[in-house]
Subunit: 461 residues, 2 copies
């Protein structure tokens, strides 16, 4: 469905008449809307438009649909699998100017936000009310984007993912219709769950224009801790026991020895350079003390050593800043290299096996690939650091990523726990889900018969 | 799409050849598969088939699809909105013989079950492992049916609904294809969330043939309590404060004064006949003690009196048995009457207003309609008790139900928190969701172009 240049120019001209300099087609801005850290090269859109309302998006979508020109929604541009690439050209719809918190309903513990609001912005606005939005993918992503990739991150083990923390959505569909999937009830059995269908659809079914989010109370007490383990297997045993014991751990993150080394160097820490768990506990003062003590006991039983608590806000903040900087720390292990994050997720009983196999495979291929994991969910990221000028190394990295995705699938897991399919993981989706992909494609064709919504993503049609 | 008799007979004959006496078409068994407590009269299928595997269901569906004969999945028959009625005739697929627990993965806290397994059966099988499945709609429903109506119940305030506790599904689609929506990873961003699409679809998109469920650890300690309040508003204030304080209450149920009176009479209790909260706390010994104390303090601040704990298993069990028998207790208030459960759900800040308005409306219409609510979620059921021989009373009850559903919608809520739309609530879905219903219909047509899967439910096409 390649667009002839004239058609695209005509659409841009029409948008320009209505939106003036909120439509931009300079090379720099178009390239900025196509950055990607996947294997696929950047594919800039033909123009970028900055709408201010669902009605404007509806008009933009109708204008593009009438000419068969693709639209690609853009939040903060932090996705990792090429989700914002304009695979078939067209118009990038940048939602960054739709960044208002529409309402906060403290008694109901919910809020309504526009899609361009970022998670940090929201949490700043919520703080005074004693509330927070728990989903934390690391980057300061937009909430519309986080919904679209079904993001999660470090807190998901306790608070769930974007799937669990959205009450309802407003969206512009490919025909320009504005729909609302529900209201503010905390649960509903009213028909098909269109909110959950749009969450994770990566903008291929509609453009999210408003989100009603579930909030949580800022816990009375928070404590963080680190604990070293002799092996990845021992750390995973501690994770399993912690969850089986019902400790409502808020974060439980694994760093392998390579990554601890990287974090020590980058964040000036002096952690033991061995597999390490970073933890956080939320609750009442008494509850947090009890959780911490229970975990310390479990960890000791599993061979954990050097258990250290960080209760002061400064110490906690330093610890989690180091964790969030793990990506940059890893990159700094090999200056000039590019890091490609993988994202497999397996049942927790298979986690130690998967992490160990991933370490061995990287070693056997001569790759440096430190590992960090949201291990309470069985989700871990390896970060092969690749010299992009080395053709042979690129090929080995590709072999590694492909092997890892297939390993996860063979262990009853998935190739993507939280980053989405985008363009980068398209080859694995059918291996993972077989004929279910045909059902997805049937839904896509029914809702977007012209294939104008972020075409060329998730699966080919 | 009325089927001519000959076509249906031919299909039944074909099924009979393969499945022998697992195909039944006697009047008694057909009527038993159409019982309903909605306003709509029972609509029996033409025959009932009892399959043993997904492959058999695939064959049955293909056989019916080839002739355009509808199929209607049947679990335990406990749905409340006519979901199991054969609105356009056809074959009821009774999943009761597919009742095996396929596997329990204790370390992963998940299990795989066939759709005919009931929640009580599952919890009996799980007990030895220290695990349980928390969703409790009261009735001993089948897990396939609970998924199909997106059921929840008393524990949802803490543990979520069926939406939150299913990792993946296997289903037979209308073309007979068997799909799997995922594996056993605790989270996934791999394409459209087909599991969530099938959950709550009431068998209109596919027949669930296997469920992978998320399990929870049986808490170390459990305590129950009751507390009386001067008004519904005071009870609701206590609920809001409890949740805002972050007390992880496992159950928090409101009974209005009428229902307490009914429960006292039916279950031989002597509760104060005033609005009452029934509560349950789960956690460690210390955590439960802390939760109970925090709630007692909040309740006292809100005017609660007569706070009573029930910590012995016997006392707790008597209390929750009384709560679960509330439906029968209410019916017994007016012998010979039929009770029609409503199911609205509103933001918790609007709950007191909604419950009070519902009481007044019932009074003004001369109806007896006791109320019980899963108030932590803002969901409550009123149970108008109707003399079906009194035409005028039936009309007033219809007016009441219609008024109540519209009230909930006007308060940013839904006409159904957990029972589903079925046939009974079809008139309200479009009022609630507008054009979103067109998107649902487009999905239905794409996946089931012959409209053979439980036709005549949720919306008309």
């Amino acid at each position: 469905m390649s667009q002839d240049r004239q058609t695209v120019e005509r659409v841009i001209e029409r948008l320009h008449e209505v939106y003036g300099d909120r439509v931009q087609s300079g090379a720099a801005i178009c390239e900025q809307h196509a950055h990607t850290t996947s294997w696929v090269p950047p594919q800039p859109p033909d123009a970028v438009v900055f709408p201010h309302s669902a009605e404007e998006i509806s008009h933009i979508v109708k204008t593009c649909a009438a000419e068969g020109v693709p639209v690609v929604p853009f939040g903060a541009g932090t996705s990792l699998e090429g989700q914002v690439n304009a695979a078939r050209g067209g118009i990038s719809i940048d939602l960054g100017q739709m960044n208002a918190v529409v309402s906060i309903n403290a008694e109901d513990m919910d809020c309504v936000v526009q899609p361009g609001v970022t998670r940090k912005q929201l949490n700043t606005e919520l703080r005074d009310q004693g509330l927070f939005f728990p989903i934390d993918p690391g980057a300061d992503a937009s909430l519309g984007g986080m919904a679209s990739t079904r993001a999660s991150g470090t807190n998901a083990v306790r608070y769930g993912t974007m799937r669990d923390n959205i009450l309802s959505l407003e969206a512009v569909m490919p025909n320009g219709e504005i729909i609302r999937t529900g209201a503010r009830a905390r649960k509903s059995s009213a028909g098909y769950d269109l909110a959950r269908l749009l969450i994770g659809a990566e903008g291929t079914l509609g453009i999210i224009t408003e989100l009603t989010l579930r909030l949580h109370g800022i816990p009375e007490a928070v404590a963080s801790a680190t604990c070293a383990f002799p092996t990845v297997g021992a750390a995973c045993d501690a994770v399993i026991a912690t969850i089986l014991m019902g400790v409502p751990v808020a974060r439980i993150e694994l760093l392998d020895a390579d990554l601890v080394r990287a974090v020590n160097a980058y964040s000036k820490l002096s952690l033991a350079e061995t597999p390490m768990l970073f933890l956080e506990f939320h609750g009442s003062e008494q509850g947090v003390a009890e959780q911490t003590a229970t975990f310390a006991e479990i960890a000791a039983d599993c061979g954990g050593t050097d258990f250290q608590e960080a209760t002061s806000p400064e110490a906690r903040s330093a610890l989690w800043q180091a964790r969030h900087d793990a990506y940059w720390a890893a990159i700094a292990l090999r200056p000039g290299a590019v890091g490609f994050s993988t994202d497999v997720c397996v049942p927790i009983s298979r986690l130690a096996e998967a992490v160990t196999a991933a370490q061995e495979k990287a070693g056997s291929l001569g790759l440096v690939a430190p590992i960090v994991g949201h291990v309470g969910d069985g989700n871990f990221h390896t970060l092969p650091l690749i010299d992009m000028n080395d053709e042979d190394e690129r090929a080995r990295a590709r072999e590694y990523v492909s092997w890892l995705n297939e390993l996860a699938i063979s262990l009853d897991g998935t190739c993507t726990g939280e980053h989405g399919i985008g363009q980068g993981k398209m080859p694995y989706l059918r291996k993972e889900l077989g004929h279910a992909v045909d059902v997805m494609a049937a839904i896509k064709v029914a809702i977007d018969p012209g294939n104008i919504m972020n075409p060329g993503k998730i699966f080919d049609i």
